[in-house]
């Protein structure tokens, strides 16, 4: 199951929602990580925007990642935190900045570029 989709002219992360305990979470799992429900967990969008909780500019990483690159934790509505890479100049980032979701190359495997979700400042 893809963990993002295009919607309303933008990108939305797709996590899951548990109807038994009302937990929204990411990434999607078949079993609810809070109440353990085996049924009633369905795909669910996360809010379109989140707040940057923390971030770092990474200079040392395994070869499949092109350094330097920026990573961070983004907090979405309903208490969902997602880790990912951030596009744009790290000097423009601040803790608590409003972030949107985008898609880009996250790593390379062999000669292939692997696409995945990333974040960017919502106002730029």
């Amino acid at each position: 199951m893809p963990d993002w989709r295009e919607a309303d002219g933008g990108i939305r992360l797709v996590g899951a929602h548990c109807s038994a305990c009302d937990l929204r979470f990411f990434p999607h799992r078949e079993i609810c990580p809070r109440c353990g429900a085996l049924e009633g967990v369905a795909a669910a969008d996360l809010s379109p925007r989140g707040r940057l909780y923390s971030y770092s500019n990474v200079h040392v990483a395994p070869a499949q990642f092109q350094t330097p690159y920026v990573v961070g934790f983004v907090d979405f509505e309903d208490d969902v935190r997602v880790f990912g890479q951030i596009e744009g100049d790290p000097a423009t980032l601040t803790v608590e900045a409003e972030m949107a979701v985008t898609v880009g190359v996250v790593r390379r495997e062999g000669g292939d570029e692997i696409l995945g979700y990333k974040f960017r400042r919502a106002d730029r």
Partner: protein, 380 residues
């Protein structure tokens, strides 16, 4: 009625980059040193544990084969940075329950086999697939911690400077040259705001301890060090917000350890804590109860955690400078604590050392504070 568990022997291999030696030889060095320290022959070992994260299958058997120490129960333990300490907890449990009299625990890893860089993590983990590396996780802790408390990169540098000062006095340490705040800040960036000197080095090493019942310890004659608490906990998986600038896992594990030992943070005379990155030590001052929340950076700035301070932390030089061969770390911390409690720590000796705490934690998995945490309280 449970048996009181004592540490009767400790030993370490060299902690260094040793690409030309095998992991088996490095492990053997530590086991031989611990047997010699205990004054025990190999036939007195009832059972053995080997903690290693990257040593591969049957690492314990491969080390003990070369010592003729086979045919006994040997259990290999993998729990990331807590691998060795998790093995020690098993060993203490056997002695306390009377199921074994004398148990060997060796921790070992050889990280130069990866050729440098960050520790390899599992690609099936979502965060790892998206570019998470251990120094990035700690860098984000540092960034958030500084945002919330007003701490500065200079405070992170102070931890590294303190570690080098201690390591300069420790012949077992990997990096022994003193440094300055300016030099730490000017060392090359790894994951902002962490610079190279704020990160533990890659290296190879092993450490071993032998635990025994109090009765056996008394027969051996040397003044024993007692294990007052041996606690292991795992992280709690969470999909939402958590304060990454404070370790709930370390707080929970150490509280259990204090409770079992009947002691509190105020009773600890020295601690060996998991300073894999400089921010970690500041966070663990708080989670271990040595100071209040948000007070960690002032704690190091005021010199309280230096060898001459009121709560010496990492008198060995810690992971930052003594080195951090993953599986060996928890056992090497216990070696240092035992030497301190016996008064054998030479130039880095903490005065009036009666109670020591060792703490290791690690394992980068998405949704966890850390995978595992182990805390031991040792008394003399």
């Amino acid at each position: 009625m449970t048996v009181r568990c004592a540490i009767v022997g400790v030993g370490m291999s060299r902690f260094a980059k040793q690409p030309d030696r095998t992991i088996e030889d490095i492990g053997r060095d530590a086991v031989l040193a611990a047997l010699k320290d205990a004054g025990l022959t190999r036939d007195r070992i009832d059972e053995a544990f080997c903690g290693s994260s990257y040593g591969g299958p049957m690492i314990g058997q491969r080390i003990l084969r070369d010592l003729g120490l086979t045919g006994i129960p040997i259990t290999n333990v993998e729990n990331a940075c807590s691998s060795g300490a998790a093995g020690l907890r098993q060993a203490c449990g056997l002695v306390e329950s009377g199921r074994a009299e004398t148990v060997l625990v060796v921790g070992v890893d050889k990280l130069t086999k990866f050729g440098g860089g960050t520790l390899p993590l599992e690609a099936t983990d979502l965060d790892v697939a998206n570019g998470m590396v251990m120094p990035a996780l700690y860098a984000m802790r540092a960034q958030r911690y500084m945002h919330e408390t007003g701490a500065k990169p200079e405070h992170l540098a102070m931890v590294a400077v303190k570690a080098r000062e201690a390591a300069a006095l420790n012949p077992h340490a990997q990096y022994r040259e003193k440094t300055t705040i300016e030099a730490v800040l000017a060392s090359r960036p790894v994951t902002d705001p962490l610079t190279l000197f704020m990160c533990c080095p890659s290296g190879d090493g092993a450490a071993a301890v032998i635990v025994a019942s109090e009765a056996t310890a008394k027969r051996l004659g040397a003044p024993p060090v007692f294990v007052a608490a041996s606690v292991l906990q795992s992280g709690r998986y969470k999909t939402g917000r958590r304060d990454i600038g404070y370790s709930e896992l370390t707080e929970r594990t150490s509280k259990l350890a204090y409770e079992r030992a009947g002691l509190g943070p105020e009773d600890v005379d020295l601690a060996e804590v998991h300073d894999a990155f400089a921010i970690a030590e500041i966070m663990y001052y708080e989670a271990l109860g040595f100071c209040g929340r948000g007070e960690g950076s002032a704690f190091v700035a005021e010199g309280r955690s230096h060898i001459g301070g009121d709560k010496p932390v990492n008198p060995s030089g810690g992971l930052l400078c003594k080195g951090h061969p993953i599986g060996a770390t928890g056992i090497a911390q216990v070696c240092e604590a035992v030497w301190q409690l016996r008064g054998q720590a030479a130039k880095r000796q903490v005065e009036n050392a009666n109670v020591a705490l060792t703490h290791c934690t690690g394992g980068g998995i998405s949704g966890f504070d850390h995978g595992a945490c182990a805390v031991h309280v040792l008394t003399r």
